[in-house]
């Protein structure tokens, strides 16, 4: 009600957002995990060489966690810790480009729909209606059915499954922005549309778009792993997390450790993206905070 604005009076909106985000401990933990995951991709080789995850040794197959093999070993005696660690990059390799491209396409189409003729918006909305009538998982399945499962094809599949939601989010954000008075004001003193789009609408929608991006990253992480799990994504022996779990299925009784650790990796990744997204949303608009 009478929240003191003393501390934030001299800060720019960006600084203010960063300040508020930094006050949110849970989200900071999420951010730390995301950074850790990125570091693992770069420096994973130094922690445990990929070789350890490929080298087969039947004599130590299906062993539980030990000092030597933190997450145990799989059916071929490969070190699961190494395989999980190196699996990080496959998830990220699919999730990041798919999310980013989906978001860019969302912004472009959303801006066009918000700015240009009504019929473009109408057609776009009808097309989105159709795409959103197909559950995302099935759309991805159809793409993989046609193109086959590979990392590149999974990016395409995730893109097609995610673009409709991205466009819809971007469109609604931009329409709400275009309706605001400063856009009319800018128009009244003769700003051109592209100027308005690039100087006003896109910068102002960026925050909300980044939030939807982080949430998307989490959703794609989950979806990619489930595609691999049902055998329609990245296939073994590539140590993608879902593929690891797919391999582990038949050992559900004898070696549950094969299931537990890759699952926790997926869970942590999706969770930390969600935490960052939630934290950003609260930081951008403190009124939404619960």
């Amino acid at each position: 009600m009478f929240m003191g604005k003393k501390s934030s009076r001299s800060m720019s909106p960006l600084q203010e957002t960063i300040y508020r985000f930094s006050q949110n401990k849970v989200s900071l933990i999420g951010l730390a995990v995301v950074i850790l995951l990125l570091l693992v991709i770069i420096f994973g080789e130094f922690v445990t060489p990929f070789e350890n995850g490929v080298k087969q040794n039947i004599r130590i197959r299906l062993q539980g966690p030990s000092a030597e093999h933190w997450f145990g070993t799989d059916a071929y005696g490969r070190d699961i810790f190494t395989r999980v660690l190196h699996g990080t990059k496959y998830t990220m390799m699919i999730a990041f480009p798919a999310t980013f491209i989906a978001e860019v396409i969302g912004i472009i189409l959303g801006a066009c729909a918000a700015f240009y003729s009504r019929w473009f918006d109408n057609i776009l909305m009808r097309v989105l209606d159709v795409f959103q009538a197909i559950p995302g998982q099935l759309l991805a399945l159809a793409v993989v059915a046609a193109l086959g499962g590979s990392i590149f094809n999974l990016v395409i599949a995730m893109l097609i499954a995610r673009i409709p939601a991205s466009v819809r989010t971007a469109r609604s954000i931009m329409i709400s922005l275009v309706g605001q008075e400063y856009i009319d004001a800018a128009r009244s003193y003769g700003s051109r549309d592209y100027h308005l789009i690039f100087r006003h609408v896109i910068p102002n929608s960026l925050g909300a778009m980044i939030v939807s991006m982080t949430i998307n990253l989490s959703a794609i992480t989950l979806q990619v792993s489930s595609m691999s799990y049902i055998g329609l994504g990245v296939s073994p022996p590539t140590p993608e997390w879902g593929a690891l779990l797919s391999e582990a299925r038949e050992f559900i009784i004898t070696a549950p450790h094969m299931i537990i650790f890759p699952g926790i990796a997926i869970l942590l990744t999706a969770l930390s993206f969600n935490l960052v997204g939630d934290g950003l949303r609260d930081a951008l608009d403190p009124r939404l905070r619960d």
């Binding site: 009600m1 009478f2 929240m3 003191g4």
Partner: protein
């Protein structure tokens, strides 16, 4: 002081704070007022003066997580409402003996409930006479007609009614249990000017007919002159002047803030060239000034005003908290 028989409500030294994240908002700081049966008290002040908080404290509908009554008593029919257990508050008092008319009729009604049901609800939970459903319906119809709405409209949802009609429904909700005290919280601010007068006249008429006492919260001194017996002027969570309407409007003493309020009111009899609104803003309720809370804005501020909080200077029933009238002589300190 003994409570005379016709004393209805007596608030003493009421203090309410809101606790936000790191700050404490001092919303009501030692308010004392009293009300006899059938009497009307105008509670006047700017937005943020603590009028609504006082009203909510009396009904005990303050947001319980943030707001806290830190001191004071609210005596109603001889009971201290602050000590009444919640279930008795709900059964005997809230909605039954004390009812409130809210400020904004647009949001005060449940959008997915028929207005008749919303009126009947109050009756159902206070059904001491064990009225049959038909009797309850009758009572609803009667109340609706009382506030000038055809009884057929009770099947309407709020979105089907105009703003003025919604406020009439809100009033009907307050009246349906025939309370002895109505708190009207700026009942007309959300309405068009033309409807304002109608609704006010109706409230006044009904109040007189039913013999109900009323606390009328407003920032409009014109309305007060029309409808009230007594007036209390609030500023920054305190009552700075209280008395009968005549005393406030033409008494010997007048608080500079009250003078300011009159100055910002167009006077139809005297020909003034311009209005004199009070300079400055209400003080930050998390950081109130020492001494008289009005001193930063007061045109007649003296040195003492910045240091000592003035007590009441009394003349008959008229009390003014200002050093101009020797108020320094001592006010019972709250601390």
């Amino acid at each position: 002081m003994n409570t005379s028989n016709n004393m209805l409500l007596k608030v003493e030294n009421l203090q309410v704070v809101y606790k936000a994240r790191r700050e404490t908002v001092y919303a009501v700081n030692g308010v004392s007022l009293s009300l006899k049966k059938g009497e009307t008290l105008g509670l006047v002040g700017e937005t943020g003066a603590g009028k609504t908080t006082t009203a909510y404290a009396i009904l005990r509908v303050l947001p319980d997580r943030t707001a806290k009554v830190v001191n004071g008593t609210i005596e109603f029919e001889g009971k201290n409402l602050l000590e009444v257990p919640e279930n008795l508050m709900r059964h005997g008092i809230r909605g039954e003996k004390i009812a409130i008319i809210f400020q904004d009729p647009m949001s005060a009604l449940n959008p997915i409930m028929k207005v008749g049901d919303q009126i009947a609800e109050a009756l159902k939970f206070h059904n001491k006479e064990e009225l049959s459903p038909e009797k309850i319906e009758e009572q609803v119809d009667r109340t609706l007609e009382l506030v000038g709405i055809q009884k057929e409209r009770k099947y309407d949802f709020p979105h089907q009614l105009s703003g003025g009609m919604k406020q009439r429904v809100v009033i009907a909700i307050a009246l349906v249990c025939e309370p002895v005290l109505i708190i009207a919280d700026e009942p007309t601010t959300a309405l068009d000017v033309t409807i304002q007068a109608q609704v006010l006249a109706m409230i006044d008429e009904l109040r007189e007919k039913l013999g109900t006492a009323m606390i009328l919260i407003t920032h409009d001194l014109g309305i007060v002159a029309q409808m009230c017996d007594n007036v209390a002027i609030m500023y920054a969570g305190e009552i700075i002047e209280i008395g009968s309407v005549e005393e406030i409007y033409s008494g010997k003493m007048q608080h500079p803030y009250t003078t300011g309020l009159f100055g910002s009111l167009p006077d139809l009899e005297k020909k003034t060239d311009r209005l004199y609104p009070i300079e400055g803003l209400m003080p930050d309720p998390t950081d109130l000034p020492t001494g008289c809370k009005f001193n930063p804005r007061c045109p007649r501020c003296m040195d003492i005003c910045r240091e000592v909080q003035p007590g009441f200077s009394v003349e008959g029933t008229h009390r003014v908290a200002c050093h101009l009238y020797g108020g320094g002589t001592g006010r019972e300190t709250d601390e």
